[in-house]
């Protein structure tokens, strides 16, 4: 009895060790709350910096396209329109291509080795910095597509989207470089969600006599839809916030035009172009534009997360 008690006495944890434990836990807690602090900090700082411009122009800022530092008139409609048009149109091209490629990778059209090589190659491409894509767009893509744009204008010039004479950099090139950039993201996420569809579903469909594509369209794609949608929304967020490649190729003009063949602007390219040299109320207006961009991408992101949670696979 006596011996046992001393044994327990020696086994007691030191007070200092307990304190270290508590300190360790609280440090981890503080570090994890940094995320929330930074996120709130970004929102608050951008909001307060834009306050001057917000109180002066109000919501008119969103619908006028005058951007004149000399007269102190600011409206970001051209940039907002450019952001929305480039991101949505590029997605419109990317979705069928990306999902088609993902189906190609997940079906057994070619041996597994090739599919895996293609898959990891596509993933690698997501790692290429956008500024390098911009460089490539300026020196390779623009000359390559010049003749095609002239053709587009000559034959489809009656459509407002192609109504201006193509002169070098324009919005359509920005859309195309965005496609190159989004394709790896959409393909990778679509492939992952297609792979997660249980084999049982496919076999059941084959068993009752569905053909391969009947199975894909009525069983596999619907089952993977939520994952694909979330990937598409993530890509949309990326497209709206994408700065470098777009800035380098879109032409950076604040003159509003419906035509995709004329130089345009996006919010992020406006920030990249003007932020360094701006002063006075221009800075505040740029912060206002940044705030709009942030809200847009926050909404898209939160919606994507909600979608994943709400419609995640139930098999």
């Amino acid at each position: 009895m006596e011996e046992k008690l001393t044994l327990f006495k020696n086994r007691k944890r030191f007070g200092i060790e307990k304190n270290i434990d508590i300190i360790f836990k609280n440090t981890a807690l503080v570090l994890s709350s940094f995320v929330a602090i930074i996120l709130l900090g970004i929102i608050l700082v951008v909001f307060f910096q834009s306050f001057e411009s917000f109180s002066r122009y109000g919501l008119k800022f969103l619908v006028t396209s005058e951007w004149n530092p000399v007269k102190d008139e600011y409206g970001a409609f051209t940039a907002i329109y450019g952001t929305l048009v480039t991101s949505f149109l590029s997605l419109l091209i990317t979705i069928p291509l990306g999902v088609g490629t993902a189906i190609f990778i997940t079906e057994d059209f070619v041996p597994k080795v090739f599919r895996e090589i293609i898959g990891s190659f596509v993933e690698l491409l997501a790692a290429i910095p956008s500024v390098v894509l911009g460089l490539w767009a300026i020196f390779v893509m623009e000359p390559f597509f010049r003749a095609f744009f002239v053709f587009l204008h000559n034959f489809f010039g009656w459509i407002p989207l192609f109504s201006t004479e193509p002169t070098g950099r324009n919005s359509l090139l920005a859309i195309l470089i965005l496609v190159v950039m989004l394709l790896p993201i959409v393909t990778a996420i679509a492939r992952d969600s297609l792979n997660q569809v249980p084999k049982k579903l496919r076999n059941a469909a084959y068993g009752i006599g569905a053909s391969r594509w009947k199975t894909i369209f009525s069983v596999i794609l619907p089952a993977a839809l939520s994952g694909i949608m979330a990937g598409v929304l993530l890509a949309l967020g990326r497209a709206m916030g994408e700065t470098m490649a777009v800035t380098m190729i879109i032409g950076n003009s604040n003159a509003f035009s419906w035509s995709l063949l004329s130089p345009g602007y996006t919010i992020s390219s406006m920030l990249a172009n003007q932020f360094g040299e701006a002063d006075g109320s221009q800075v505040s207006s740029l912060f206002y534009a940044a705030f709009v961009l942030m809200i847009l991408s926050l909404v898209v992101n939160i919606f994507a997360q909600w979608l994943v949670k709400k419609f995640s696979l139930k098999y």
Binding site: S32, G100, T101, G241
Partner: protein, 297 residues
Amino acid sequence: MNSLYYQKRLSRNIGDKFFTSLSVICALIAILPLIFLVTYILYKGGSQITPELFTLEPNPPGDDLDAGGINPALIGTLIITTIASIIAIPVGVGGGIYLAEYSKGGAFTRFIRFGVNVLAGVPSIIAGVFIYALIVSTKILFGSMYSGLAGGMALSILMLPTVIKTTDEGLKLVPNELRYASLGVGASMYTTILKVTLPSAFRSIATGVVLGIARAAGETAPLIFTALFSYYYITGFGDLFYEMGSLAVLIYNFALEPYDAQNKLAWAASFILVLSILSVNIFSRILAAFTEKTKRV
């Protein structure tokens, strides 16, 4: 009897053929330009590589034929990425430890996990704008405005979500038996984490972190008005508080110059940037595949 054989002309078989070729065409349209892109960057950039490139300062754009080298930008990228890692890795790993090891899935944890995903989706230029407002315009860092330090901070905001996420997910994969065993022999919580769970999740965390660093190294948007750009050699510690060049910003600035010599420098910088990012990616992928095969627990 006929119905037992494959019939080419049956509408469902024709439809199947059609969609199969459609998906092959999609894959070709998607992949061929990408292959062309990578080979072009490597070819065009690789042909500009000379030894002087790594040792000289870039010459200011002008009509002179010799553009110089990219030494300051190369060193600058290393320094700025290192600063970003020094900030983001401890914060991110610590935060990830809390999420995976201590939290009990309450409202706070859910909010942080949600915040990590939202922060990962914040456009990179917004991080630059934020640091500009917080640090550059207020001159809070000993009176310096644009600086390599501010650039590193902007990049760390972009790295943070990746680091937290990989730590959180890496730790969650560690089997609970290991934790029970460690706690059961009397180890305290922090000993368990530092000696048992973190080491067994080390490889997956390290892979994710390295990929995050590689991504940050190519980011340009957060740097163009925080670190700005510099043409001069980095000579000492004090240069942290002044404008600092980086490969990414060099590519951006010199791609838009009308002079051929500067454009070539941009291609050379792209080659170095892409090659190092791709090799880091491939290496960590091989490492991850290797780990998966030899996993014991």
